[in-house]
């Protein structure tokens, strides 16, 4: 089937079904854990390890096939389209949480405060609720622990400390990954590798800064997942973004490893491009977060 020019169709695939098994064990384990069943964590570990091993095997196979020239240009286009549409699905996933933020800030919180259709509700249920953002709702949920009990008081996250630093970090990582791409195209392997090292390093630096920020939020500011809708949207958006940064940095590390053993040519480097697109996507989401979650 590997006639030159022909579209490569693998005759069989063992990795996908095993990856599925890993994923379903992981998720069933997580569900068991949430239900308080003791088997949960074990299942999670087994499923996670299986999933990672399978992905490794699958990607290693793809990489070796790619390097041995089995993929025609047309196959490359399929891969690129796949990646683009995958990123689109991720955009829609984040859109849900951005939409949630918009809806609560502009509609549901004002309604709770008595605007529009909420007038009667406010009078009857929460006459003293003051609808200003940030809020943890009329129930004053969560907040700093005082005398072992949540006080309902929390601070919101300011944009100009660590978050601003993180913006600079991510923006520069976008530059370094482009620089690495230029190196790849010009066949300057040194530049490619240096650019990737810088990008991965900046990525992990971002994650570390965010971890510090979260730690501060939980221990000092009374800002947790439980502090009402502000805490919920804040952690959901930044948390999922941070998770994507981790994934992106891991993908870039794999690309870095492959670059260091001589993979990729100027005309054939889908994995690099996919990783770079993903990274830019993560970058753009962060800009959205910085504006809508931190600044506004």
């Amino acid at each position: 089937m590997s006639t030159p020019g022909a579209y490569y169709i693998p005759s069989k695939a063992t990795w996908p079904v095993l990856a599925t098994a890993g994923l379903v064990i992981l998720l069933a384990g997580f569900a068991n854990y949430l239900n308080g069943a003791s088997i949960g964590p074990t299942m999670m570990i087994v499923g996670f390890v299986m999933f990672i091993l399978m992905l490794t095997g699958w990607f290693a196979l793809q990489a070796s096939e790619s390097e041995s020239g089995m993929y025609s240009a047309q196959v490359g286009i399929s891969f690129r389209m796949g990646m683009m549409w995958f990123i689109f699905s991720e955009v829609m996933f984040f859109a849900v949480f951005f939409g949630t933020l918009w809806y609560t800030r502009n509609l549901s919180v004002p309604w709770l405060g008595g605007e529009g259709i909420g007038a009667a509700t406010k009078e009857l249920l929460w006459p003293s609720f003051d609808a200003v953002w940030p809020t943890n709702g009329p129930g004053h949920l969560g907040g700093k622990i005082v005398d072992g009990k949540p006080s309902g008081e929390f601070e919101s996250m300011s944009a100009w400390g660590l978050p601003f630093l993180n913006t600079l970090i991510l923006l520069s990582s976008g530059v370094t990954v482009t620089w690495a791409h230029h190196g790849l195209l010009a066949q300057h392997r040194g530049q490619l590798i240096k650019g990737l090292i810088a990008t991965v390093a900046l990525g992990f630096l971002f994650v570390i800064c965010q971890a510090i920020e979260y730690h501060e939020a939980y221990t000092e500011m009374g800002l947790t997942l439980g502090s009402g809708i502000y805490g919920s949207t804040f952690f959901m958006l930044t948390g999922f973004h941070g998770f994507h940064v981790c994934v992106g940095a891991i993908i870039l590390s794999v690309v870095l490893f492959r670059s260091s053993i001589g993979h990729f040519k100027p005309e054939n480097h889908f994995a690099f491009e996919a990783a770079a697109w993903y990274w830019h996507f993560v970058d753009v989401v962060w800009l959205g977060l910085f504006i809508f979650v931190y600044i506004l």
Partner: protein, 538 residues
């Protein structure tokens, strides 16, 4: 649409591998036909499992009072019936058809991303198994309706996280399948197969795949927030923390309304494929069909809150969603008109696939009309959450999507297997189905207008007669489907024994590339791209 000068198959067995031997073949396969078969068989199995749940519902509702099941279990049945049918039967069946037919229709060797194709099937199985496992859990399966509205759904027992993760798996599966379909259609068409020469089935799937990628992540996001609300203290849907349960409804229906079009657009595509063949005329208004499909898809994103007229939206919202929803009737009308015009003065014959397709055109139109009635916001206050809704969406799903799936089975089984199905039993199956489906669902309109709420195990005495009629229809419909099961098995095992030609149906080769392939279609479709020669059609 286009005919072909075919020279495939001759050089078939050079160094080409046929299927693997044994059971393993089906597990590790990357072949679009194998995967299509898996999807179709899985969907058929789920159709019967979901059907049994429906019969539990209809048995309980046969008479007023509680007869057979606990109310909680009854609610689990309505919830699980819907989830199984939507995510386990109808959607996978259409993905199966896409897998089988799209490469054959556009002259491609296979799907663009074969390994991912395999994974999307197994993720589907995993997701449905996870969902089914909730039936046996403490607290029972989810019982808050397939829409999983909070706060009610948050009272689910141990099943909740399993159901949520099952939605995630099904979502990933659908997204992977959709990405594959888009990449195949954009990247694998034979030379000369321009976009506006693609068969409508391919067009409708292209647009459906786009809808899937756009909205499955939205559903995933919504259930993720349910998960965190229940287990991680967030308050997305809890007013005490500043959230809003109505927000869930908005997000759900932003997914949910396109979702119903995910089930109906491929239906339109198959109908547009079958009707011209038996009318012996090219499809009337090909390009208007394409544009109508695209407009329906676009509109489907901006009408979602017609499911929420009674929830207490600002009046501007009510009005906007009312008018926007009514707009959908226009492109839908274009389609119905085009199918009718295709049949107009055609030399029609009425083989089983055509019978189902004609029934689809008529009965779908009825479902569309009730939709239009409900789109009028003030009227919907009366209809909402009654059996009228149940009648509406069953008309657009059962005698529409499901009938067209049956039609597709009869239409393509000879191509897939090389055997002819038994026409007599096929006709019997059709008449039993079309009569019983109306006995089953038509009275539900009356029940709804008279005020019978949906999702209840018991009801007031004045609803007794029509419920009994409906249940009788339901049981006849259920039993009739065993005929379909018989026909599928029988056809796979040899059918009538008659040798089917490559084109199967008279002059079918004028209507699409798939009919130029041998019957049964070879394991690898077009190892070299076919020449696409547009016919004088259009």
């Amino acid at each position: 649409m286009s005919a072909v000068v075919a020279e495939h198959d001759d050089h078939h067995d050079d160094h080409d591998h046929g299927p693997q031997k044994g059971l393993l073949r089906w597990i590790i396969t990357t072949n679009h036909k194998d995967i299509g078969t898996l999807y179709l068989l899985f969907a058929l199995a789920m159709f019967f499992i979901g059907g049994i749940m429906a019969l539990v519902i209809r048995a309980e509702l046969f008479e007023p009072g509680l007869q057979f099941v606990e109310p909680q279990f009854f609610n689990s049945m309505t919830t699980m019936h819907a989830l199984v049918m939507v995510f386990g039967a109808v959607m996978p069946a259409f993905v199966g058809l896409a897998n089988w037919m799209i490469p054959m229709m556009i002259g491609a060797p296979d799907m663009a991303l074969p390994r991912m194709n395999n994974m999307s099937f197994w993720l589907l199985v995993a997701g449905v198994l996870l969902l089914a496992s909730t039936l046996f859990m403490e607290g029972g399966a989810p019982a808050a309706g397939w829409t999983l509205y909070p706060p009610l759904v948050l009272q689910t027992g141990k099943a909740l996280p399993f159901a949520i993760f099952s939605v995630h798996l099904l979502g990933i599966s659908s997204i992977m399948g959709a990405i594959n379909i888009i990449a195949t259609i954009f990247n694998m068409r034979a030379p000369g197969m321009t976009l506006m020469k693609m068969p409508l089935f391919v067009w409708t799937w292209l647009i459906t795949a786009f809808l899937l990628i756009a909205v499955m992540p939205v559903f995933a996001g919504a259930v993720t927030m349910l998960l965190t609300d229940r287990f991680f203290e967030t308050s997305f849907f809890d007013a005490a923390g500043g959230g809003d349960p109505v927000l869930y409804q908005h997000i759900f229906w932003f997914f949910g309304h396109p979702e119903v079009y995910i089930m109906i657009l491929p239906t339109f595509g198959v109908a547009s494929t079958i009707i011209p063949v038996f009318a012996r005329k090219p499809l009337f208004g090909y390009s208007s069909m394409v544009y109508a499909t695209a407009s329906i898809a676009f509109l489907s994103f901006i009408v979602w809150a017609h499911h929420m007229f009674t929830v207490g939206m600002p009046i501007a919202g009510e009005l906007y969603f009312m008018y926007a929803t009514m707009l959908i009737a226009i492109p839908t009308g274009v389609k119905v008109f085009n199918w009718t015009a295709t049949m107009w003065k055609g030399s029609m014959t009425f083989e089983t696939p055509m019978l189902f397709a004609i029934a689809f055109v008529v009965l779908f139109t009825m479902g569309g009309f009730t939709g239009l009635m409900m789109s009028i916001a003030p009227s919907d206050f009366q209809y909402h959450d009654t059996y009228f809704i149940v009648a509406h969406f069953h008309y657009v799903l059962v005698p529409s999507s499901v009938f067209i799936l049956m039609a597709a089975g009869y239409f393509w089984l000879p191509k897939w297997t090389g055997h002819m199905y038994n026409e007599k039993i096929g006709q019997l199956h059709f008449w039993m189905s079309v009569i019983s489906v109306n006995i089953l669902f038509f009275p539900q309109h009356f029940l709804g207008l008279a005020g019978m709420p949906r999702r209840i195990p018991d009801y007031a005495i004045q609803f007794a007669d029509w419920n009994m009629v409906s249940s009788i229809g339901g049981f006849i419909f259920g039993v009739s489907q065993l005929l379909f099961l018989y026909i599928v098995i029988d056809t796979i095992r040899g059918g009538t024994g008659e040798k089917v030609s490559d084109e199967v149906w008279e002059d079918a080769h004028k209507h699409g590339l798939e009919w130029t392939l041998p019957s049964p279609a070879p394991y690898h479709t077009f190892t070299t791209p076919p020449d696409v020669i547009p016919t004088e059609h259009q």
